[in-house]
């Protein structure tokens, strides 16, 4: 059986049918057809299928229409033509569609006018004529109309792409001022969105939360569909950046993606679970700031201490690599920002020093650097790096060798 849901102007029709079947066609705005063949064991007889679908559809739009038939076009015209729920029994398509007006079938006004002059008003009138005679007078399209009017047109569905966003919106009569009730509402919305994703066998790599028209983005490193993970991310974000005003409308939009498929190998080193890591990073960012947590990347420049922090994305890393002996390099512990240095005193106290090593760059920008570096040993064996900023003439401790 095919089911057609018709809720003019409501995009939810497609989403509702998609909860029941992965094979869904977006026939028009607010109109969708689902292929329910082979789902009798799950949904029952056609009348039970219709009842189940109708319950979901009516919750969205009480004026919506639903029709079930043996082929997509019969279900489509029955949904457009009859109010409420219509179940077209197999073999009785022509009989059921007979009273519908031809305006549902043919969009061209000139052709409709011609048919009206011939005295043809309904599906019944068209279906009663011989097919060859119609084609001879109206062209090849007439054969298509004739089969549809008789409920005999069989065609494959033009399946809606799986990547259509899933939306949940909520308008509140009484604005919400506190975080706790807002999270309660968000939890309901997230559960609904994630249930729809699960019904389609999908996950999401981006959820957009719109509060009073302002959108926030949540992008986990891998596609997930765990509502608790998203709720925690939203909670941490809302605690850090509150909406600033009572919330009177909220909307969630999830961009579907294929779920992560990860098979841990015997020789694959363990990694933090992406969902748990995302929440951990969000918690840490709430403590120390987003700019202070991440994966360091050295910038392609000779400027000292040039790096940036990127969000961790460790899903599915490279295979195990042979371990090389580590380089026995003396590590530097940097002072950030560099500490002012009393150079004359250091000259008196230093046990030994080496330098200067001059570096400069970006002289064509206001952010240029020009400095002389020295390695200094103090009595007792402690070693430091100091430098003179040649643009200001000031001396600084850059770091300590450890």
């Amino acid at each position: 059986m095919y089911a057609c849901a018709h809720a003019p102007g409501r995009p939810e029709a497609l989403e509702i049918l998609a909860e029941f079947s992965p094979l869904v066609e977006q026939t028009g705005k607010g109109t969708a057809i689902a292929d329910l063949r082979g789902m009798e064991a799950l949904l029952g007889a056609p009348s039970q299928m219709a009842e189940t679908l109708w319950r979901s559809l009516r919750a969205v739009d009480p004026e919506a229409r639903l029709a079930l038939a043996a082929n997509p076009d019969t279900a489509f015209y029955a949904a457009l033509g009859f109010p409420g729920v219509t179940v077209v029994p197999p073999g009785r398509e022509a009989e059921m569609l007979a009273p519908l007006p031809l305006t549902l079938l043919i969009g061209d006004p000139e052709t409709l006018d011609t048919l009206r002059q011939w005295g043809l008003r309904s599906f019944r009138d068209l279906a009663a004529l011989p097919e060859h005679e119609l084609v001879a007078r109206l062209g090849q399209s007439a054969a298509d109309w004739w089969r549809r009017a008789r409920g005999e047109q069989a065609r494959p569905l033009r399946l809606a792409p799986a990547g259509l966003p899933i939306r949940e919106t909520l308008e509140l009569e009484d604005p919400v001022e506190l975080l706790e009730p807002l999270l309660f509402l968000l939890a309901r919305q997230l559960n609904s969105v994630c249930a729809k994703l699960a019904a389609r066998g999908l996950a999401t790599h981006e959820i957009r939360l719109t509060l009073n028209g302002r959108t926030r983005f949540y992008r986990p490193p891998v596609a997930i569909r765990n509502p608790r993970t998203f709720l925690k991310l939203m909670q941490l974000d809302l605690e850090r950046r509150p909406p600033g005003e009572p919330v009177h409308s909220l909307a969630l939009e999830a961009l579907p993606a294929d779920p992560r498929v990860a098979q841990s190998g015997l020789f694959t080193p363990p990694r933090p679970e992406p969902e748990k890591l995302e929440i951990t990073v969000a918690r840490i960012a709430a403590l120390v700031g987003r700019e202070n947590v991440g994966v360091p990347e050295i910038l392609d420049t000779h400027r000292p201490d040039a790096f940036r922090l990127l969000p961790p994305a460790w899903d599915g890393g490279p295979a195990l690599q042979p371990a090389h002996p580590p380089q026995r390099r003396l590590a530097l512990r940097r002072f950030r920002p560099p500490k002012p240095c009393d150079w004359p005193r250091l000259l008196r106290e230093a046990e030994r020093m080496a330098g200067p090593w001059r570096t400069c760059g970006d002289w064509w920008t206001p952010d240029a650097w020009d400095r002389d570096e020295y390695d200094v040993a103090l009595p007792g064996g402690a070693a430091y790096r100091v430098f003179r900023d040649n643009r200001t003439g000031l001396w600084f401790w850059e770091g300590q060798y450890d």
Partner: protein, 202 residues
């Protein structure tokens, strides 16, 4: 001499240290690397991170005072793309909470908690319960938790305490060529002291 029990370890690939530690830093345990400034604590911690990240493990560096130098780490062989760096801007309270969060998240091969610039009298005030909590979080996991500090703080909660000492600097041709450091295992106590040499230039 008490024999070190056979544990799963994170080797440093530094022969003397691995021999002293019974193969490397114990996984599922807490190791304190203690010593004064310039005693080689950070270089040793980076050696452990280099080994772990080279084997594809993800690691974390909880940096209380923001002293971690990515350039030094990369030169020591640390794969930076597998390292989570948390900078706590001098807040010991935040650093303790971040270390707790990282360890609780699980899945890290090694976590370095750097208290190297925290004054010993401040570090001593960290409640013992916090160290036991960290130890409890890594127990039964493959995470090697390394604490870099000036003095031992975790004490009873620590599986190993490694004391580092300065051993002199090497100069040649007007260049700082390297540094010698000494490491002694204080828990469990072993009389042996190993010498380590670190190079300052490539």
């Amino acid at each position: 001499m008490a024999a070190l029990t056979a544990l799963e370890v994170l080797p440093t690939r530094l022969e003397g240290v691995d021999r002293l530690m019974g193969g490397g830093f114990p996984r599922g345990g807490l190791t304190e690397i203690c010593g004064p400034a310039s005693s080689g604590r950070t270089s040793l911690a980076l050696a452990a991170l280099a080994t772990a990240t080279a084997e594809g493990e993800c690691c974390a560096y909880v940096d209380t005072d923001g002293v971690f130098d990515p350039q030094s780490a990369a030169e020591a062989g640390v794969k930076l793309e597998r390292l989570l760096w948390v900078r706590c801007a001098g807040s010991l309270e935040n650093a303790l909470r971040c270390a707790d969060l990282v360890v609780q998240a699980g899945g890290f091969g090694a976590v370095v908690f750097d208290l190297g610039r925290v004054p010993p009298e401040t570090a001593r005030r960290i409640p013992a319960a916090h160290w036991f909590r960290l130890r409890r979080a890594v127990e039964g996991t493959r995470t090697a938790l390394l604490i870099v500090a000036q003095q031992p703080n975790a004490k009873a909660a620590a599986s190993r305490i490694l004391e580092m000492r300065r051993g002199g600097l090497e100069w040649s041709g007007g260049l700082l060529q390297g540094a010698r450091r000494q490491a002694t295992l204080r828990k469990p106590v072993r009389p042996e002291t190993v010498c380590l040499e670190w190079r300052a230039v490539g």
